[in-house]
């Protein structure tokens, strides 16, 4: 077993794939010598050279389009979009091109591209550098969407994303890069479309993604002190969604909280809530609770940012509501 940070785990997945397979390469803004704005690709240019660790112009649309073209030509590119806020600039390429070519060519063309990106609050980056936009892409048929929350998961899932023959939008969270974890010595691919039960419980299921997985685990710890047993499940892949695992968990606990950092309104949690109410209707003993950010552009002021996005105490309050307690 080795201990890796989330950042190192991402790098390990990229490096392992590139060592194994010449078709895999990475591209993005300032990812070579600088090692990327989050330091994920640090040192990789030394091993693989500027052909396979490519700096691109500051144009998300251009770099996304180039990556899609390379993928259609048979490569397995991993394009880094520095902030997921900037996915908006590449949306034409991702939504109208990458997601469509396999379908529109009748399967003659595949687009095995991976768009790695990161975002999230917690370090006061302001309204344009901390959004959580995963729901935008979950809505697009033709794309797969992954949001990994731990070093083990990010390594195994990124590997699977690279080797998936469909375009994958791969979300990382800014504040998780420093999170460390013992990971298997050998990289173990994690199949796309499989949820992970982080903690088993009897009374409430918290379905959380990204940073909120950790907040949910903290909330579960606190809830346990007052005798409420919380199950924490991370779908890990948002598209395709492991509905069976989520429904099975809620059928066991009869209560459900969905939690993510993105704003609640029209968030990924809304879809999960719909899946749960349909799949586990007769097992629900309380309304499905949603936890997410307040519906506002993210404030720059740290105290305001903190107030807008959800934390463990918000998850705990939702847990307590589902079990009928007026919690703290």
């Amino acid at each position: 077993m080795a201990e890796l940070s989330y950042r190192e785990a991402v790098r390990d997945a990229l490096t392992s794939a590139m060592r194994q397979d010449d078709d895999v390469f990475v591209m993005g803004e300032d990812i070579a010598e600088m090692g990327g704005s989050m330091g994920v690709t640090q040192g990789m240019v030394d091993e693989f050279g500027p052909e396979r660790v490519r700096n691109t112009p500051i144009s998300e649309m251009a770099l996304a389009g180039a990556a899609i073209g390379a993928a259609i030509q048979g490569m397995r590119p991993v394009a880094e979009i520095m902030y997921e806020d900037f996915l908006t600039l590449a949306t034409e390429q991702i939504v109208n091109q990458a997601a469509k070519h396999r379908y529109m060519s009748g399967g003659q063309v595949t687009v095995p591209v991976t768009f790695r990106t990161q975002g999230g609050s917690g370090w006061s980056p302001g309204a344009q550098h901390a959004q959580q936009l995963e729901a935008w892409f979950v809505h697009i048929p033709g794309l797969k969407v992954v949001f990994a929350s731990t070093p083990t998961d990010v390594r195994g899932l990124l590997w699977s994303a690279i080797y998936d023959d469909n375009p994958v939008v791969f979300f990382e969270h800014r504040t998780l890069y420093g999170v460390k974890e013992e990971v298997p010595e050998e990289l173990e691919p994690i199949p796309i479309g499989k949820a992970r039960v982080h903690r088993e419980g009897e009374d409430v299921t918290v379905i959380a993604t990204g940073r909120l997985v950790h907040e949910a685990l903290a909330a579960a710890e606190q809830a346990a002190e007052s005798g409420v047993s919380v199950e924490v499940v991370d779908p890990r892949t948002l598209q395709p969604l492991d509905e069976d695992a989520l429904i099975a968990s809620v059928k066991k606990t009869n209560r459900c909280v969905v939690a993510h950092e993105a704003v609640t309104r029209m968030g990924f949690g809304a879809e999960v809530a719909a899946v749960i109410q349909y799949g586990a209707f007769d097992w629900l003993d309380a309304p499905v609770e949603r936890v997410g950010a307040k519906f506002t552009p993210l404030p720059f002021a740290p105290i305001m940012e903190e107030w807008c996005v959800p934390h463990a105490n918000d998850v705990l309050a939702a847990i307590n509501r589902t079990v009928g307690r007026n919690g703290n």
């Binding site: 009869n254 209707f281 007769d282 097992w283 629900l284 003993d285 309380a286 509501r321 009928g324």
Partner: protein, 421 residues
């Protein structure tokens, strides 16, 4: 101006009626007083007349049970806009069913939402308001899981106190109720296993009424008194009456009994009584009900003020009532106001039987068949026509001595009919 046609109260105690069919269709012109629809009440099926003229704009309840006062149709002028409150037919039927969880729904639920419909009706039943869970607009708040458990275990959510937010019934509440409550019948097995020879007949409105009223009657503390009556003179009187009856109905022994009982009731008013729970009503006229078997049940039309009628008049009244009863055209007035009932099974050869009380009446007389028997007459054996009478009395209203005196009078009147004058 459109007129809303509401379900009328056709008799005391009528709470609901079942619309059997409409005799006019929507869009058809109707004159006031024309038969508009057929109504099946507790006691009778009858045609109900339109109380306004115009065009039948809307039939709000095509068929089924409706509470008194509910709008069932609208009569107005061609082209008039009508809006009818959503009907809730057969509202009472499902009071023991669980309530539903849905929100607002269209005025008429499609049939496939049967369960939801029943649940909604259950929650609007006033009787369940006395205790139980939180409800908004008459709906029981309960989680889907609580509903499922309640459904599976046959628990009425109306009986479960909710401890969730805003009093919502949650699974734990149902489980607690299941553990502490009275044993609950398992849900009825699915009907497919019914063997071929079993014919399942849903209870008609009349059978339901019979069941309800006789079950109620069974709660009364009753006693029975029996006498055997020599019918020689009564038969002779009857033969004479038959000879003289002319164009009217042929008098029967039952008619003679009606007359005799009416006369006896006037002498023993304690028997001409209705038991009202907190009071006993002693009635001034003998309104004698006669139990009439009809193909789908039993009705008890009433001969009003029988004490004032001659036997011939009683025969005519009786013949008309029986004909209407068998033809299904009894009016509510034919059935109201009875103070005493005679049930005669003599024509079937039954020698004696015990009749079940017809509440709120305090007494009912069961009449057997006239049989030739060997009896002692003036110290010698003689063959005489004999009749057994069995009087059932509600002991809350009538005591043994009063019943005995009445029955003795009946016996005397039959044995010497002149005494009834």
């Amino acid at each position: 101006m459109a007129t809303e046609i509401k379900l009328p109260r056709l008799g005391q105690g009528m709470e609901a009626g079942t619309i059997v069919k409409w005799l006019k269709s929507e869009g058809e012109r109707v004159a006031k007083g024309e038969p508009l629809y057929e109504l099946d009440t507790d006691k009778v099926t009858q045609e109900v007349e339109a109380d306004a003229s115009g065009v039948l704009l809307k039939i709000a309840v095509a068929e089924g049970e409706v509470p008194v006062g509910q709008t069932i149709a609208v009569i107005g002028e061609q082209g008039e806009e009508v809006s009818v409150p959503s009907p809730e037919p057969e509202q009472k039927r499902a009071a023991d069913e669980e309530a539903d969880s849905s929100g607002e729904k269209p005025a008429r639920a499609p049939a496939r939402e049967d369960e939801r419909e029943r649940g909604r009706q259950a929650s609007t039943d006033g009787a369940t308001e006395l205790r139980g869970p939180s409800r908004a607009n008459g709906r029981i708040k309960a989680s889907p899981l609580a509903r499922r458990i309640a459904r599976e275990r046959g628990i009425d959510l109306a009986d479960v106190a909710g401890t969730g937010p805003d009093g919502r019934v949650v699974a734990e509440d149902v489980e607690r109720a299941a553990a502490s409550g009275p044993p609950v019948a398992a849900p009825p097995p699915p009907p497919e296993a019914v063997p071929q020879e079993v014919v399942v007949e849903q209870l008609t409105s009349m059978r339901k009424t019979i069941a309800r009223r006789l079950t109620e009657a069974w709660q009364a503390p009753v006693f029975q008194l029996g006498v055997e009556v020599d019918m020689e003179r009564a038969q002779a009187v009857r033969s004479k009456l038959v000879e003289l009856h002319g164009e009217g109905a042929k008098p029967t022994l039952s008619d003679l009994l009606t007359k005799v009982c009416a006369a006896a009731l006037m002498r023993h008013r304690a028997l001409n009584a209705l038991y009202r729970g907190d009071a006993i009503e002693l009635h001034p006229t003998a309104n004698v009900g006669i139990a009439v078997a009809i193909p789908n049940g039993l009705v008890v039309p009433v001969i009003q003020s029988a004490e004032r009628l001659s036997v011939a008049e009683i025969a005519n009244a009786r013949a008309a009532l029986v004909e209407r009863a068998r033809g299904g055209s009894l009016q509510q007035g034919d059935l109201d106001g009875g103070t005493f009932t005679i049930s005669n099974l003599g024509m079937f050869g039954i020698q004696r039987f015990v009749a079940v009380l017809n509440p709120p009446q305090a007494a009912i007389l069961a009449v057997g068949s006239v049989e030739d028997k060997v009896v002692a007459v003036s110290g010698r054996a003689a063959v005489r026509p004999r009749l057994e009478l069995t009087l059932t009395c509600d002991h809350r209203a009538v005591d043994g001595a009063a019943g005995a005196q009445f029955l003795t009078t009946v016996k005397q009147f039959l044995e010497e009919p002149g005494l009834a004058l």
